[in-house]
Amino acid sequence: MTVANTVEGASVTARKTGFRHVVTSIRGDGWASAGIITIAVFILAAIFAPLLTAIPGQNPYTYHLGLLDDSGAPKGWGGGISATHWFGVEPLTGRDLFAIVVYGARTSLLVGVSATILSVLIGVLVGITTGFFGGWYDRVMSRVVDVMFGFPVLVFLIALTAIVPSSIPRPLFMIVVIGLFGWPAISRVVRGQVLSLRERNFVVASTAMGARPGHVLFTQVLPNVTATIIVYATIMVPSMIGFEAALSFLGVGVPPPTPSWGRTIGDAVGWVQTSPMYLVFPGLALLLITLAFNVFGDGLRDALDPKAVRR
């Protein structure tokens, strides 16, 4: 049996797993690092918005009518950029644009991230159970998902804002509504993965050992779809932020004077000829954060996939 022992004793080269490996991998990926740094900067800016705007001594609500000319456009170069107004001021009101963009990050990130979490929770729950249990439950839920996919969400939301009482905080309302309409895509992805995992031997083995379905689902199946879920969630955040911006752009998002990138962009479109910087700064912020999440999600997918070959 010497052969057997030596052959079996030959150790297979270990592959790195776990959090540390992911960090190393992200660090080696320039785009993903840039993405996570950008995300961190935006989150910090949103959290410390009052401190940050206190440096030039501004807030997003004070009017500076003296900085505007007779037509309502800001005086001076680049929409009134100066030492106190870093991004210039808003036309017609003269409010500080830097403060608006920084406070707007609060709305965008709060709504984007919270709606994503809600969507992921619902989507994963539906996807994992439909894929695992199948049968009539799967058939019914899959039709529900089909209906959700074909639903005219935007029209529905605009109609909904007209009848929802204003006593409900608008950001909360938006989180719930966007979250409730965002889950079908992730549930489809998770269901597909679970369908193939369900047939794998380690899942069958667990059942054969006498495990309850819940145990199989959460200890055997779920850990194998977490990578997909994390990556998918990261890529969902920017689309949620974009959705919030779109609703605010259409005038059915967070109500004024709460700063929001979408509404500012919507307002700025009318001023693009006279004061282009009014559009550039919030637009750039929206572009940067969506790009950062997308790039980071891509890097994360590579880092979590053990089969991915480093280029």
Partner: protein, 567 residues
């Protein structure tokens, strides 16, 4: 060596191959391998997985990935192939050297007919051939490859044919331009044993009739004994031993070859196996497991779906402490029976009783209690262990499910179990991808015996393993059974493996039991023609004996020489 020196067709001289590591140093996989391929002779390249045998063969065709570095010399009819330009290599591939791959199911394009794909192969080397001529040639090749129903096969798409027919079509394609050499990379590994015998016969005929040189890559010593004239044994990228087949099997020189041959389980049809004496329990004792009149139908629910009867009217029982071998070819329903014993598939009719509990009527809670007494070992250990859990967590899972042992108690038990399957206790903290195939299967066995089961269901536990590892896993199962006294359902297609382990045998074919009885009777003096054919088709690792068995197999198959069917 042979008396009349056959002309050398292909000469591989001092070939070394290394792969560029991921940022690391070059990883050598083949180290100065030399051999010559002679016209009309079969050279077998033998070795276990990772020995570099396939890589060596692919280097002949220049089909290695771009990260590989090849040095040395490969000459085909005197012309150098290493460093040859793409046009020359294309001329060689499929022109002068034909290739037969391991999995015929994956080697054909599913969207084209077989006839079209063979015609394509002919035209690619001679584009100006007339259409009618190509058609005639396709028919000729298919019948040369032993396909009787040529008209149907050439119009068929790959999914409409059986594995054996596909492999014959693949061989037809490989010989379409009258190659001087054939490379057969594990040509029968994915096929059933009765089909394998036919394919090996075909390759032998090609060698004899056309004088084709064959490079046969295999890990199966039985196939080597059946077909090879010369043998090169490889290990870790080096040639360990080379000899003609008769000498190698009669007087192996290298220690590795000896160990390899010793590890091959032999199917001895002449004398009764020296198996262990099973404890025969008292007559009135409850059998550990009992299947009575079981019928299993797949895909019956739903509107207008076609159902497939996987198992029909199967009955057998396993006494406590005994081992029952369930034998059959792929699609015979043997794995389905195994799953039914664990309550994993519902029965259409009949009953399955484990220790007196009927699984068809028991409640969900009762079923979980029954499963506590069942251990299950799967064919592919890699897929039966969750890649995201550590080995320790995997082994502790049944303990978590069925006992209220503390974390420390579970850890102690995991250590005991790792000792029982002869693995280091450190393995508890590792992940399954850090283990070799044999180690993984040991972990799966440790998990299966964690709760001292009364029944162990082992579904082809050694099929995915190298032969030397296989022997040690069988030894482990036997030893654990002696210690723990569980009954065992051993499912396998390999009769030699079954004979080494079991007390009783049940032979299944197309969902029905063909023959059942004590192992010594069924495996040495089978009564049913199917069992006889199955036994005769299994090659043994001895060229002399294998020649006798081959004649026996041919005699049995005169009535219907292609036993496979397509549904």
């Amino acid at each position: 060596m042979s008396d009349e020196p056959a002309p050398t067709v292909l000469s591989v001289d001092e070939v070394s191959i290394s792969f560029a590591g991921q940022g690391g140093p070059e990883r050598p996989v083949v180290d100065r391998v030399s051999f010559d391929l002679h016209a009309g002779r079969v050279l077998a390249l033998v070795g276990e997985s990772g020995s570099g045998k396939s890589v060596t063969a692919m280097s002949v065709l220049g089909l290695l990935p771009g990260t590989a570095t090849v040095s040395g010399s490969i000459r085909l009819d005197g012309g150098e192939l290493i460093g040859a330009d793409a046009a020359r290599l294309r001329q060689v591939r499929g022109g002068q050297i034909g290739t037969i791959f391991q999995e015929p199911m994956n080697a054909f394009n599913p969207v084209y007919t077989i006839g079209w794909q063979i015609a394509e192969a002919i035209r690619s080397h001679d584009p100006r051939t007339a259409r009618a001529e190509v058609e005639a040639r396709v028919a000729e090749l298919l019948s040369a490859a032993g396909i009787r129903d040529v008209a149907r096969v050439r119009r068929a798409h790959p999914h409409e044919l059986s594995g054996g027919q596909l492999q014959r079509a693949m061989i037809a394609m490989a010989i379409c331009s009258n190659p001087v050499a054939l490379i057969a990379d594990e040509p029968t590994t994915a096929l059933d044993v009765t089909v394998q015998a036919g394919i090996l016969d075909l390759i032998r005929r090609l060698r004899d009739e056309h004088g084709t040189a064959v490079l046969l890559i295999t890990h199966d010593m039985g196939v080597v004994a059946d077909l090879a004239d010369d043998v090169v044994v490889m290990r870790d990228g080096r040639v360990v031993e080379r000899a003609d087949a008769a000498t190698l099997f009669a007087r192996p020189q290298a220690a590795y070859t000896k160990a390899l041959l010793a590890a091959v389980p032999t199917l001895d049809t002449l004398e009764a196996p020296a198996g262990r004496v099973a404890p025969r329990p008292a007559e009135d004792a409850e059998p550990a497991a009992e299947v009575r009149g079981a019928c299993i139908v797949y895909g019956a629910s739903g509107w207008g779906r076609r159902s497939l009867t996987a198992v029909e009217d199967v009955s057998f029982h396993i006494e406590a402490g005994c081992t029952l071998g369930l034998v059959g070819e792929s699609g015979s329903g043997k794995s389905t029976v195994g799953r039914a014993l664990a309550g994993l598939v519902p029965l259409r009719a009949g009953a399955v009783r484990i220790g007196g509990v009927d699984l068809t009527t028991v409640s969900a809670r009762g079923l979980r209690a029954v499963r506590k007494r069942i251990g299950y070992v799967f064919q592919d250990p890699a897929s039966s262990l969750n890649p995201r859990l550590t080995i320790g967590q995997a082994i502790a899972e049944p303990l978590r499910l069925h006992t209220d042992a503390s974390a420390a108690g579970r850890r102690t038990r995991v250590d005991e179990l790792l000792d029982a399957v002869r693995l280091d206790r450190d393995f508890a903290g590792r992940f399954q991808h850090e283990l070799s195939g044999g180690q993984r299967q040991r972990v799966a066995i440790a998990r299966a015996i964690a709760l001292n089961p009364t029944l162990l269901i082992a579904d082809e536990p050694t099929s995915a393993l190298d032969v030397s590892v296989q022997a040690s896993i069988l030894e482990l199962i036997r030893r654990l059974q002696d210690e723990l006294g569980f009954a065992c359902l051993f499912i396998s297609h390999d009769l030699a493996v079954v004979q080494a382990l079991v007390d009783d045998v049940v032979v299944m074919r197309r969902g029905r039991i063909v023959e059942a009885g004590p192992a010594e009777q069924v495996l040495t003096a089978p009564r049913q023609p199917y069992t006889q054919r199955l036994l005769a088709a299994a090659p043994v690792a001895d060229p002399v004996q294998q020649r006798l068995r081959r004649d026996e197999w041919r005699a049995l198959n005169t009535a219907d020489d292609d036993v496979e069917i397509v549904t």
